[in-house]
């Protein structure tokens, strides 16, 4: 297509570069249009997430209409506000007292003590896992990197199980969260140092490293299951299946700081993750301190996986499926990809958990089993596509 222009225009094009004021661009990069598209994608995802959350909270053995769910949220806020207003002795009354409450007498109680914490944790776990997948793929330069596939999730689960089996978990739920983070950190460092050669990670090396790490971590969990007392054993089996059953507000508050810290660290490195796509040397030539970025991102992944695993167990493939789908609609730029993946992940896990507790009446299916049922074939399809594009298992 390019040979039709004559040499003269070639020379003038070369000369053009040194003219102090280049001529008016034919195709100016339209940033404003890009921003509008970004806002649209984030807006649609946020709206979908909010609507799904309200519907999910109202769905279950006890059905509660969306209006009543919203009313209950307002009432909760109202009670909290009223508490503070009374505490300061203002004599004022909080504004949402007239919001509609569920018709069922135990509706309000059910929402606040069972459904809301579960919906909140589902969103936290989804956002954390999807974002950790995105960051991991950016750092490894490989779209197949995912916390569960490479063994980081099970590493975090080993950390959490250690806290349970040794009885340290009795000091508080936050101990489990911290141990999950530490387990994730150690595994991420391990996988990273094992699977890289000459500045990049090949698909084969990455997947094989994942098999090795998973074999080891599952053996650790199996050992813990063997030595644990019956009560701890039940908890450990639940790690391996992944479930949001019995979520409490304490679990939500224990992992929320990990999620927030991880998201802030990930978002602040978005531009540098883009440059890393050019390879480590080129990223360095563009001013990225690659070693420091790498360490920061490893900690970020560990924080996010810790949040995603601590009270839920291993929910696999969210970090693989979500960033991949978001890249198709939002493109690969991390400034949009990271927040959109967080929202998309929250939406996906929320829907998956809704399915887990409603697909079969009077039973709560393991969430991890559901995501793996969808994610496993998806991973295989992605592997085959990658192989076809690269002409081999490069």
């Amino acid at each position: 297509m390019s040979t039709k222009t004559s040499t003269n225009t070639t020379e003038s094009a070369a000369a053009q570069l040194e003219i102090s004021k280049p001529p008016k661009p034919r195709k100016a990069p339209k940033k404003s249009r890009g921003r509008a598209k970004d806002r649209l994608i984030l807006g649609v995802l946020s709206a979908a997430l909010a609507i799904t959350a309200i519907i999910a909270a109202g769905t279950g053995q006890l059905h509660i209409a969306p209006v009543e769910v919203i009313g209950s949220i307002l009432h909760g806020i109202n009670n909290w506000l009223q508490g503070w207003l009374d505490y300061f002795g203002t004599g004022l009354s909080a504004p949402f007292g007239g919001a509609p409450l569920p018709e069922h007498p135990r509706g309000y109680e059910t929402l606040w003590s069972v459904r809301f914490p579960r919906v909140a944790l589902a969103m936290i776990v989804g956002a954390a896992l999807a974002c950790s997948g995105t960051v991991m793929q950016g750092v490894f330069g490989n779209p197949l990197a995912e916390p569960a596939v490479v063994g980081v999730s099970s590493g975090a689960a080993v950390g959490a199980s250690t806290a349970i089996v040794t009885g340290l978990a009795t000091h508080g739920n936050w101990v489990v969260a911290i141990f999950a983070f530490m387990g994730g950190l150690i595994t991420t460092l391990l996988v990273y140092s094992l699977s890289r050669s000459k500045g990049r990670t090949e698909v084969v090396t990455l997947v094989l490293t994942g098999i090795a790490v998973n074999a080891f971590t599952f053996a650790m969990i199996a050992f813990y299951t063997y030595v644990a007392d019956p009560n701890a054993r039940d908890q450990l089996i639940f790690w391996q299946l992944g479930s949001l059953n019995g979520t409490s507000w304490i679990s939500v508050l224990s992992v929320l700081p990990l999620l927030v810290a991880g998201l802030v660290m990930a978002f602040s490195a978005a531009g540098k993750l883009d440059l890393l796509a050019l390879g480590e040397r080129s990223a360095r030539h563009l001013g990225v301190n690659v070693e420091r970025l790498r360490m920061r991102m490893i900690i970020t992944v560990a924080l996010l996986v810790g949040a995603g695993v601590a009270f839920t167990g291993i929910v696999s493939f969210v970090g693989l499926v979500v960033p991949h789908l978001i890249r198709i609609i939002a493109g690969p730029g991390h400034k949009l990809l990271l927040p959109a993946s967080a929202l998309g992940g929250a939406l996906l896990v929320l829907l998956a958990d809704l399915g887990a507790r409603t697909l079969v009446t009077y039973s709560d299916l393991p969430l991890g089993m559901l995501t793996a049922l969808i994610g496993g074939p998806f991973f295989f399809w992605l592997l085959r596509r990658t192989r076809n594009e690269q002409g081999g298992w490069a």
Binding site: Q16, L17, A270, H285, L286
Partner: protein
């Protein structure tokens, strides 16, 4: 993302442009070992603003290694390399990125960015400076100069090898640094685009930039370089103007193959041709 501005580094100082003839990079007694093998042996070289310096030599002579060393990518076994009077290792990655741009031989991209996005990445080092006001102009000019404006919206991964090479060069031009280092920029290109790339390099030098370029094609070196450095087994075999260095005697010895150097019957320009 404005609330995340707190986490950004303070604004970076913009470097002064080089004066033509000013020495941009000085390498003194540079030796490099890779995998226990000495690949560069006490090389002395300086790169001047307003000049195109070509690095030539047979395979394995150390051209790319020398370029990587000048870019600050390698640990030196001995010797020193200074950029604007300061040793390379004393510059932060961010400061170096405002002063030199590097085009690597192997071009990779992990995710499906489009051509425009790749070229925009070249402006990343300037994002905290006043120079970012000119981002759009510089990107448009860099894309026009490398003849890639027509496929700005195409995916990088869907391009041919030669098109990818031009997009990568475009990114390096958009980085708009005083020093340009190009490792075999013409390797994947057709004749017209080989000429185009070196014309761009010349134009940059004419505007006071310093250009170091690794070339395989000796005719391109003869036609476009102000100075040529001939490398042989990790050592500098010759350094000078093309007329001084690209002689039958030096080239035949270094390449271990008979090479004829003659004048073009019409234009009188140097033609270099292997004996057959």
């Amino acid at each position: 993302m404005s609330m995340l501005d707190v986490f950004r580094a303070p604004p970076t100082e913009i470097p002064d442009p080089l004066i033509p003839g000013e020495v941009a990079i000085v390498a003194t007694g540079v030796s490099v070992e890779l995998g226990g093998k000495r690949v560069l042996n006490s090389v002395d070289l300086s790169v001047m603003a307003g000049e195109v310096l070509a690095l030539v030599g047979p395979n394995g002579a150390g051209k790319s290694t020398l370029l990587a060393a000048l870019a600050g990518d390698l640990e030196l076994e001995s010797g020193q390399i200074e950029l604007s009077g300061r040793p390379l290792h004393q510059w932060r990655a961010q400061e170096l990125a405002l002063r030199r741009a590097v085009l690597l031989q192997q071009i990779q991209l992990s995710f499906p960015f489009n051509v425009l996005e790749v070229v925009q990445m070249g402006r990343a080092p300037w994002s905290n400076t006043a120079a970012s006001l000119h981002d759009d102009e510089l990107i448009t000019a860099a894309m026009a100069a490398t003849d890639i404006s027509d496929f700005a919206q195409r995916r990088f991964s869907h391009l041919s090898g030669g098109e990818k090479a031009r997009v990568a060069l475009s990114r390096i031009l958009a980085q708009d640094t005083a020093v340009l280092m190009l490792d075999e920029p013409t390797a994947a290109l057709d004749l017209r685009h080989q000429e185009l790339v070196l014309q761009v390099a010349r134009a940059r030098a004419a505007a006071g930039r310093a250009v170091v370029v690794v070339l395989h094609d000796l005719n391109l070196a003869a036609g476009y370089a102000d100075k040529v450095a001939v490398l042989e087994k990790g050592q500098l075999a010759a350094l000078g103007t093309p007329e001084e260095v690209l002689t039958e005697e030096i080239l035949s010895r270094v390449y271990q193959h008979g090479i004829d150097v003659m004048a073009h019957p019409v234009t009188g320009r140097t033609i270099i041709f292997p004996r057959r």
